[in-house]
Amino acid sequence: MRLTCPHCGERDLREFAARGSAVVLSRPSAGASAEEWADYLHIRDNPAGEARDLFYHTPCGLWIEVTRSTITHAVIAARPVREAKP
């Protein structure tokens, strides 16, 4: 699996740190209930198929959201986290 950094192009997987599901971008509001927070922190759809995950590109310091297949490891898209809509 090679990932595409929007700044640096297609790079070796060793340059990236995996940082979990992109669901963490959808942070509940300050007044959210305890259940909403528990859901946000722990519960996952865990899709077998297309998934969105966060990676950190260590050399250039960019956080990216990668859309990829969890079955084939094919990378479908990658964009900077700041452009990703929660």
Binding site: R14, E35, H42, I43, R44, D45, N46, A48, A51, T70
Partner: protein, 417 residues
């Protein structure tokens, strides 16, 4: 047919013509009292203990592929009880005691070998932590011996003791730890469950879970509809998909964990050796291959294969710990799908739907848990209340925050274990 040494000799004299299939291949009936989804180690042992301990007469195990085609055949076969936290400690202690009587119980050679497990440490702080863990193991009634550097050298003379980054300070020896033959555990439970009347149904994928008025009523499968009073889900890496059929969402991410085996060698490694600082552990199979592994790849995956960076990392750790391994050649590698929970500990609980139960979240520690997981899950399904050895494996601990069991102390969050 009862297996024994005498039977082997007798069949040898008769030209091996008397052996029979180890289990039946029944067609699914339309109705069962209890259906277990998942014919792996945990599912088969659950079915066996439902029949053995609770007298269940009408039990089926549904397996999408063939029996034992998942993680029970894709692990590194280590059996140990060296946990620290209450909840995990009593559970794995119970499981190890069950392993020690398993071959007699099942009349099946699972090649359980208590060759001793050594966890290495490389600093004064780590020594203190392992001394504390050893005391916790002793308090639980299990065995632990703190070895100094020379003590480790007597057991493992082939290590690099003076690696500049990770010099070996000592190790925690768990003499009752060891390995077992992975496939044989599944086959042994399958045969023993079949002999007690459990229907083992292969090539039968569950496609739907029927729920009416908050109660499970049956299953839709690729081999027809099956009514069931109670259903147990025990499908490891596929837990999220199967639970979703009943509208449940779980605190689980599925990740790939890789393992490796070398060509067969003469005996060189007599223990299970764990090098935690390098995310590396190794043992030698009875066939001679060095079996070793490391950490998960850290991105969600259902691929049953990993990527090369983690393979490289594992090989580097191997060379750091024991340069002698550089002479061996890797024969093959594989990956299993780990059902990772936020705190790294498992779940055996009710689901909120009457008659539907779940056993999942074994992270990368499911193999050694096979006997006690089945034993406790069978108890939960049959009695509708948890067994005392597994009463802390609650599904709701991630919502309430009570009873989280973060054995590694890294934080009860996804992507940290």
């Amino acid at each position: 047919m009862r297996y024994s040494g005498a039977r082997v000799i007798l069949e040898g004299l008769r030209g091996q013509r008397g052996w029979r299939p180890a289990w039946r291949e029944p067609a699914p009936k339309s109705d069962y009292d209890i259906v277990i989804i998942g014919g792996g180690g945990h599912g088969l042992s659950t079915a066996y203990y439902l029949a053995r301990e609770h007298g269940a007469k009408s039990v089926a195990v549904l397996e999408r592929g063939w029996l034992g085609s998942g993680n029970i055949g894709r692990n590194t076969t280590i059996v140990r009880a060296n946990y620290y936290l209450p909840g995990n400690s009593e559970f794995y202690s119970h499981s190890l005691k069950m392993w020690e009587g398993l071959e007699r119980e099942l009349n099946y050679n699972v090649m359980h070998s208590q060759r001793g497990l050594i966890n290495l440490f490389h600093s004064d702080g780590q020594r203190d932590a392992f001394a504390r863990r050893g005391n916790a193991m002793a308090n639980q009634g299990d065995d632990a011996i703190l070895l100094d550097r020379d003590g480790v050298r007597k057991h493992l003379p082939y290590l690099d003791f003076d690696n500049p980054r990770f010099p070996v300070y000592g190790g925690l020896l768990h003499p009752r730890g060891g390995t077992a033959r992975h496939d044989a555990v599944a086959w042994g439970y399958a045969r023993a469950a079949d002999r007690r009347g459990v229907d083992l149904i292969q090539n039968c994928e569950v496609t739907g879970i029927d729920v009416q008025n908050g109660r499970v009523t049956g299953l839709q499968t690729t081999r027809g509809s099956i009514r069931a009073k109670k259903v147990g889900i025990v499908v490891a890496g596929r837990s999220s998909q199967v639970a979703a059929m009943a509208g449940l969402r779980l605190p689980i991410e599925s990740h790939v964990l890789q393992a490796f085996v070398t060509e067969g060698l003469k005996p060189v490694i007599n223990h299970v050796v764990s090098f935690g600082m390098g995310h590396f552990y190794i043992s030698q199979s009875d066939k001679g291959g060095l079996v070793f592994g490391g950490d998960i790849d850290f991105y969600p995956s259902y691929a049953q294969r990993g990527n090369l960076p983690m393979a490289e990392h594992v090989m580097e750790a191997a060379m750091t710990l024991m340069p002698v391994i550089g002479q061996a050649r890797v024969l093959r590698s594989w990956g299993g799908i780990m059902d990772m929970t936020p705190d790294g500990s498992p779940i055996i609980d009710k689901t909120g739907i009457d008659g539907l139960y779940i056993d999942c979240g074994w992270n990368y520690g499911g193999f050694k848990a096979v006997p006690a997981s089945g034993f406790a899950f069978a108890h939960l399904i049959a009695q509708d209340r948890p067994h005392r050895i597994a009463e802390r494996f609650r599904l709701d601990r991630f919502t309430t925050g009570r009873g989280l069991m973060d054995e590694e102390g890294t934080g009860a969050q996804h992507n940290l274990h």
